[in-house]
């Protein structure tokens, strides 16, 4: 047997190793922050503004402090460090000092012996406000004369992308389609509302356990709020019941750090579902003016896209969405002439931040609707127009990035094509009051942060008992990165997954892996872990070669031993190697690093290389619309995703199932209305009975720079679903919906306008 074939046989890549920690999550025994907070902790609760925009004149805390059991009331003036945080723009106060900017802005904290006492104390804080004019519309916010929400003004940011000569192309076009699309504010609705606890350890460090997807960022911003060096704060991620982007922000961590630091006592905090709804970040509502031009042979000639985003009261990840929505506005298509402008404004709405897809789900709704409209105008099928325009090897994107590998969109389209044709051939029965429709949705998604450094680091160590420890800062929030990282390291070192001990998402023990966002952990942290494992492997083989007096090139690893493939029956165990190296003072802990190859975008033209690699997908939705009630039933979703390489296929499918559910909610029912959708009672997310079967087709166009060829799937899973459903509704009704969600009333309007075009009879 050759070394190569043995390696192949031992590979865990492409095998569905059970998720780390899955048992506890299934049997309900997994413990979350609020389950494990020390019993003697004081409770922290936040008083939140009920006004959208107001000047704080005074905060009277006397009565509150007299509440028996209330230990402290904290306000902005108690914050020792810099009272402004945020991952990109530091524009958000931990506790509002001079004014509040949205309903839910925190103005004071009560710290008390119980949650009830803390709440009682909060009710006795008297805040005197002077109400200011509020703005709830981004265009109004940027209009001259609008009151400023922030001192710097109401513009969050702008991204321009220019390629070719769009004006000329529009003049020569055979078909031009111009439409405006509107999406709404969405709540992440993760299973576990935000929670955490904090205490001082014996070294005088503040230790914060939290439900988070961003431990190293948390550490930096909490330290800055407290005016401390970063190493005085340690963040440890607990089991996290989902995040979808909202747990990238400081939700409880800053409050916990402040209360713990000032009171020198253990503290805990947990949001109610209503509080998580009220104050955590939301998906950006976007208004997208989209103009496309095509030639009569169905080729895209130009697009002109204007995106107006509402980022709410504070920036959070808003700037990332400004850029990403612009870069992805073409969709997975080659467009020679491009003019894109994305402008986001502050308003007094809830904070919009990161949410699975960073603006791409919104623009995908627009570009996929446009493709169907073009197809209709040109008399070609929706499938065909996508085939003709989809990116291929050698294509350039809107930012003039040339795609040199792993461009799987054509393969995804071909994978779903037979299914699409089969569903299309099903016909409606003549007098049916339920109309069938089928729709396509395609997408591309750049893996990792946009045009900026976003490295990851990891260490792999061989211990003296022969065990292997992987250190990674990556927070697994349920998506499965821990399992994938272990599979990568175990495969490289030729051991079973059970031989790897993972230490992760603890700023005291691990170095930064960056945020769990942008579908980046498999690709970027996977590469960092692989890099570390390779270095350790080299070191182990070198040690072994000396110990076995063998040709190093003939050595291979198997089950924790190094063996000689040249026929000599000799081997040495990892344990023996580790002991020898330790005795002789050589380190067996190696650091890995990876930073994707990107360049910043030009501020005027948007040209550059924002991402090192892209994921692609094509999905089909089959729907049935009841034309009397406007009820839409999604009958089936078929999802083809180019993930480069599925390191853990069941995990990939899990992401796709969950993404499809989120996409269905985005398409049909989710809409966050402040003050109205205050809990899951009125904010609807899909239930099991809303979900159709989802068939996953995993496409693997290997990414040469990815670990074993892998890219990412976390956000891509969601993006094509809503466009596919909306296109299917339009197919069924002959009439299109331009605002999400396609709720009963919007579908009813579409039914009536479809019926007026004589596509079907509406009379009862």
């Amino acid at each position: 047997m050759t070394a190569a074939s043995i390696k192949e046989k031992q590979s865990l890549i492409g095998t569905s190793v059970p998720r780390i920690g899955v048992d506890g999550k299934l049997n309900g025994k997994a413990l979350f922050s609020n389950d494990v907070a020390p019993k003697n902790s004081l409770w922290v609760k936040a008083l939140r503004s009920e006004l959208a925009h107001a000047k704080i004149e005074s905060i009277d805390i006397k009565d509150a402090l007299n509440t028996p059991g209330c230990v402290a009331i904290l306000t902005a003036q108690d914050i020792p460090g810099n009272n402004s945080f945020g991952i990109i723009n530091k524009d958000q106060p931990l506790l509002a000092g001079s004014k509040v900017r949205f309903v839910g802005d925190p103005v004071a904290l009560a710290v008390a012996i119980s949650e009830d006492v803390a709440e009682l104390a909060l009710s006795k804080i008297h805040v005197t406000y002077t109400e200011l004019a509020s703005i709830f519309d981004p265009e109004e916010s940027l209009a001259p004369g609008s009151p400023f929400i922030h001192e710097k003004g109401n513009l969050l940011g702008k991204r321009l992308i220019k390629k070719g000569a769009p004006e000329l192309a529009f003049e020569k076009a055979d078909v031009i389609i111009e439409r405006t699309y509107q999406t709404t504010c969405l709540e992440h609705a993760y299973l576990e509302p935000d929670a955490g606890y904090a205490y001082f350890d014996s070294d005088g460090k503040i230790v914060i356990y939290a439900s988070t997807q961003n431990p190293h960022y948390d550490q930096a911003d909490v330290a800055s709020l407290l005016g401390l060096e970063a190493d005085r704060v340690r963040i440890i991620q607990t089991n996290t019941g989902g995040g979808f982007g909202s747990k990238l922000d400081l939700n409880t961590q800053g409050f916990l750090g402040l209360a713990c630091y000032l009171l020198k006592k253990p503290v805990r905090m947990v949001f109610s579902r209503e509080e998580a709804f009220l104050c955590t970040s939301k998906r950006h509502p976007l208004k997208i003016k989209y103009k496309s031009a095509a030639s009569k042979d169905g080729r895209l000639l130009a697009i002109d896209v204007k995106i107006m985003g509402d980022t709410g009261a504070y920036a959070s990840y808003g700037l990332a969405v400004v850029s990403r929505s612009a870069i992805h506005a073409t969709g997975p298509y080659e467009v020679p002439n491009v003019s894109i402008e994305s402008v986001f404004a502050y308003t007094n709405n809830p904070i919009a931040g990161a949410m699975r897809g960073f603006g791409v789900p919104q623009v995908a709704f627009a570009h996929e609707s446009q493709m169907d409209l073009l197809a209709e105008a040109l008399g070609v099928s929706p499938l065909e127009i996508r085939r003709r325009n989809a990116l291929r090897l050698g294509s350039t994107t809107a930012t003039k990035q040339e795609l040199t590998a792993s461009v799987g969109i054509q393969t995804c389209i071909e994978a779903i094509a037979p299914h699409y044709e089969a569903i299309r051939n099903k016909t409606n029965s003549k007098d049916s009051k339920k109309l069938k429709g089928v729709g396509l949705g395609c997408m591309m998604y750049g893996i990792g942060n946009t045009g900026t450094q976003n490295p990851s680091t990891a260490q792999v160590e061989l211990q003296s008992n022969g065990g292997i420890v992987l250190y990674s800062g990556a927070a697994d929030i349920g998506q499965g990165s821990s399992t994938v990282l272990i599979q990568i390291v175990a495969t490289e070192l030729g051991v079973g997954a059970e031989k790897i001990t993972l230490v992760n998402a603890d700023t005291g023990l691990t170095t930064s892996a960056g945020a769990t966002s942008a579908s980046r952990q498999t690709y970027i942290s996977g590469n960092a872990a692989l890099d570390a494992a390779r270095k350790l492997k080299e070191a182990i083989l070198t040690e072994a070669a000396t110990m076995l007096k063998a040709n190093r090139k003939k050595l291979y690893m198997k089950n924790g031993n190094v063996l000689d493939s040249s026929g000599v029956d000799s081997s040495v165990s990892f344990e023996q190697i580790a002991n020898k190296a330790k005795r002789e003072g050589r380190p067996l802990k190696w650091q890995g690093f990876f930073d994707p190859d990107t360049t910043p975008l030009d501020p005027e033209t948007g040209q550059g290389k924002p991402y090192a690699t892209f994921a692609f997908a094509a999905q089909i939705a089959e729907v049935e619309v009841d034309i009397l009630t406007a009820e839409v039933t999604v009958k089936k979703i078929i999802a083809a995703h180019d993930v480069g390489k599925a390191i853990n296929p069941e995990s990939v499918k899990g992401q796709i199932y969950g993404g499809a559910a989120m996409g269905l909610g985005f398409a049909l029912m989710e809409e966050f209305i402040p003050g109205k959708t205050v809990s899951l009672k009125d904010y609807h997310i899909p239930t099991f009975s809303d979900m159709p079967p989802v068939e996953c087709l995993i496409i693997e166009e290997p990414e040469p720079t990815g670990p074993f060829g892998a890219k990412g799937v976390g956000e891509p899973a969601l993006i094509p679903t809503a466009p596919a459903i909306l296109n299917a509704i339009a197919d069924a009704l002959g009439s299109r919906i331009y605002s999400l969600p396609a709720n009963l009333e919007r579908v009813m309007k579409a039914i009536h306008s479809g019926a007026s075009k004589m596509k079907f009879r509406l009379n009862q």
């Binding site: 709440e119 009820e631 029912m669 009125d682 239930t687 009963l744 009813m748």
Partner: protein, 291 residues
């Protein structure tokens, strides 16, 4: 927020419960499942001094059927018992359906039919089919036991004809007449686990193609579940036809009095009253002529 402090009683007999009720009067809250009461207590909308749980009073939990008289459902019967009772499934499929489509498994395993009615939400799922089938509830106090038709029971959102010293003990539904059929239809903003935006219960009795009896009840389109009396009057004694059916549905929409809220607009609700009424009558007719 956790529950505020309160006294808690679990009487084993109705009499004991009624005595506690008389003793505590308006400071008390009766718990019949708790799926609404506990939510209201948690968010502070309800602050009772005492809670009387009815679950241990076994006389309130039974379901009995007598073909000559009718169906008696104990007010404390769980919704999940109503949906799975063989006689209800056979003779009162509309009642079984209403209890089955509401809420979710966990709530149906806790919530009771009496609790759903006494909570008196405009959208109470069980009300329309029970009204359509002529249900009468029994309310008991230490002094007397009285019967209230469901038509007279609802007085406003959260308000009923019951007195503070009374407890609902049972719901009686007469045996459906020969040649009759009933149906329950509803629409909500998503498939499952949502309050109905519009619901309709209907019962009709057909004799030689003539509609001899008809009762239509509408949910979630007025401050209380309401009868569509004009639509009923229009259909009564008419020979069954598609055209009359559509007209009755239209009249029923006209007489509904919905509001706009987060679930649906006034206009959409009116439209759906017509669609749901027509569907309910069609299904009821299909069942009537099969009998």
């Amino acid at each position: 927020m956790r529950l505020p402090k309160f006294e808690y009683f679990e009487p084993e007999t109705l009499e004991e419960a009624l005595r506690l009720l008389a003793e505590w009067r308006e400071r008390v809250c009766v718990l019949a499942g708790g799926t609404d009461v506990l939510v209201k207590m948690r968010n502070g909308r309800l602050k009772p001094g005492a809670v009387i749980a009815l679950e241990r009073i076994s006389s309130l939990n039974g379901i009995g059927f007598d073909l000559r008289k009718g169906l008696t459902i104990g007010a404390g019967a769980k919704l999940s018992d109503v949906t799975s009772h063989p006689d209800i499934l056979r003779y009162y499929p509309a009642i079984a359906r209403a209890a089955r489509v509401m809420a979710n498994v966990q709530v149906r395993n806790m919530g009771t039919i009496g609790g759903n009615l006494c909570n008196a939400a405009p959208s109470a799922e069980n009300a329309p089919p029970l009204m359509a089938l002529g249900a009468v509830v029994t309310a008991a106090s230490l002094e007397e036991e009285r019967r209230i038709t469901l038509d007279d029971f609802f007085r406003g959102p959260g308000l009923t004809a019951m007195k503070p010293e009374e407890i609902m003990t049972s719901i009686f539904v007469p045996t459906p007449p020969a040649n009759s059929g009933a149906s329950y239809q509803r629409i909500s903003a998503r498939c499952g686990v949502d309050i109905a935006a519009v619901s309709v219960g209907a019962m009709i009795m057909i004799e030689d193609t003539v509609c001899r009896e008809v009762r239509i009840a509408l949910g979630a389109v007025a401050p209380v579940p309401m009868r569509a009396l004009s639509a009923e009057a229009f259909l009564k004694e008419k020979v069954w036809s598609e055209e009359f059916l559509r007209e009755a549905a239209r009249i029923s929409a006209d007489e509904s009095r919905p509001i706009s809220d987060v679930r649906a607009s006034l206009e959409f609700r009116k439209q759906m009253v017509a669609v749901m009424t027509q569907r309910a009558l069609e299904e009821a007719y299909g069942r009537a002529i099969k009998r």
